[in-house]
Symmetry: D2
Subunit: 179 residues, 4 copies
């Protein structure tokens, strides 16, 4: 099976970041791309708090968390930059959030369409080479998402040396253990 390259984000703007970013800029890092809508209950109660936990736990270990506001309904209520900014402020969401660019003729937003997402929330994991490694619609457990992130983190890790020493254990997401 071929791994698919993650399509570049097509966005109309960014919040929570001074400079626009791109997946190309993030090459070399693992990316959690969390597509949501501010009025989607499953996003608000589950996916966004989970994305925040991932950011707290893994940012220092080379994982970038990016929100993607992919509005495909209730455009008047949630389609404006002001509405999204108010939402991010009230919910204390601090990671960068991109506004997915509107589709042609009222169709799905462009990034959402490029990834063939089925709805929100959609949780996508992209590896250090920019390839899609996980793509899930709906709720994902912390155990499953943690395992997927841990597997990607381990790929960049040379693993235990033949003598049994493990340079990777010098600094794990859980801390830097004493020898």
């Amino acid at each position: 099976m071929k791994l698919k390259p993650a399509p570049e984000l097509t966005v109309s703007g960014w919040l929570n970041t001074a400079e626009p970013t791109s997946l190309a800029d993030l090459r070399g890092r693992i990316v959690l791309l969390e597509a949501f809508q501010m009025l989607c209950p499953g996003c608000v109660s589950h996916a966004l708090p989970q994305a925040r936990r991932v950011a707290e736990h893994f940012t220092a270990h080379g994982v970038a968390v990016i929100g993607l506001h992919s509005v495909f309904e209730h455009h008047q209520a949630q389609g404006s930059r002001e509405a999204l900014a108010a939402f991010l402020h009230e919910y204390r969401i601090a990671f960068p959030v991109a506004m997915d660019a509107a589709g042609d003729g009222g169709g799905l937003p462009r990034t959402m369409a490029a990834y063939a997402m089925q709805g929100t929330p959609t949780t996508i994991l992209i590896d250090r080479q920019g390839r899609i490694r996980r793509h899930s619609f709906g709720a994902v457990t912390d155990l499953a998402l943690g395992a997927a992130i841990g597997a990607l983190l381990a790929e960049g890790d040379p693993g235990p040396a033949p003598d049994g020493s493990d340079p990777a254990m010098a600094c794990t997401p859980e801390g830097c253990p004493a020898p």
Copy 2:
């Protein structure tokens, strides 16, 4: 840093398994060893349900979950095989559980002492080569435990082939994706 070999279990009996097992028998599998006491609230509310989730999610992917009943207090209440059997029955715990052998002169149970555990719950991850890779006293988040398991699973995984294909993705803990 040298990885430490996981000391063998020293136990007085087993429940939930027809045959006694050992870490030696489990070589080649990743082992989650969950040390608990049946009257330890943090074990009952957090660590044992988490161990059950790990068993449900990862048993098919080469992870063995083993409970270790390490009684170091309230021996009269929780020290008997009958008490433990009643507890496992009522809490619907189905993975194998070993009874840690009593220490000399009322000291810590033997396996608990061999691992220098600080108390219960203690969550220990052992890799396919039988080495301790994680040792935590107290509550661990699902995200952190998932990441640690995912990293160990990935070690046995050849990783993406040079042509970009990924045989490992053919079957992940989340399922076997279509090509």
Copy 3:
């Protein structure tokens, strides 16, 4: 201490009801008035689900649940009828919701000001005679809110008869017990 009459609602519109209502119309019923904002996290995660539980449990016993959307910030994002309608639709909120009328010169919404609310969520209980019996800013436990509602329900209840029979037990919020 004098009980204060509950000020009448001053609103710019209603949702989830074919006809506008008023506290005067609801005299004879106990009223739970839940003031919220659609972008207030404590309202979304705690107060509105609690109001829904109250509606499910007590509507048949003479308790009316009324939402009051009292927007005092982020007017552009949450000030429109369309935004509120989208929110109520997505969150499956079915009880009637009033839009608090805008205050003069950008001040607090009128009903919010009349009740001297400190913010959202604010949970107000009004008795069958239209008097304020409980006024709380922030999270209220189900146990405390249940007790307050139960006390008001009991007021309209003649209580056990002198012979020890209890006509009220013939039908309680928990059901109609067999004799």
Copy 4:
């Protein structure tokens, strides 16, 4: 319908209290009688934490919380005073707990039989006159239990005076409001 008098407790001992007590001693107070077994998961995860919340919230308002350890299975594991004492210690349960007296010939414990309980947890509310007002097997919501307690508290409450003043509001379970 006649209200049934609550049968007196028939117990083999007490914990968490210097002196044995009885329902007769508690006349004039509302009593929450929580029947449980230390190895009953629904008791440990739901009913006992709820009973503790009731004790914290309502003890100052004339509600007595009494645990009743009604062992009808796993006698060897949970039948001893030592096992119960260890459990109460570990779970930080501070309200008085009675040990239900063993039934004849291995039948149900005596108090459990006298109340015709179906199992554990069973939550029973007894009014100030010693009559059963609520009897529930299984999980009860905080909202429903709160309402039942609030209704009983209100019975001893003279209610609003004809001039509209409410002496009872001077001190409610939620605090003593300023005039």
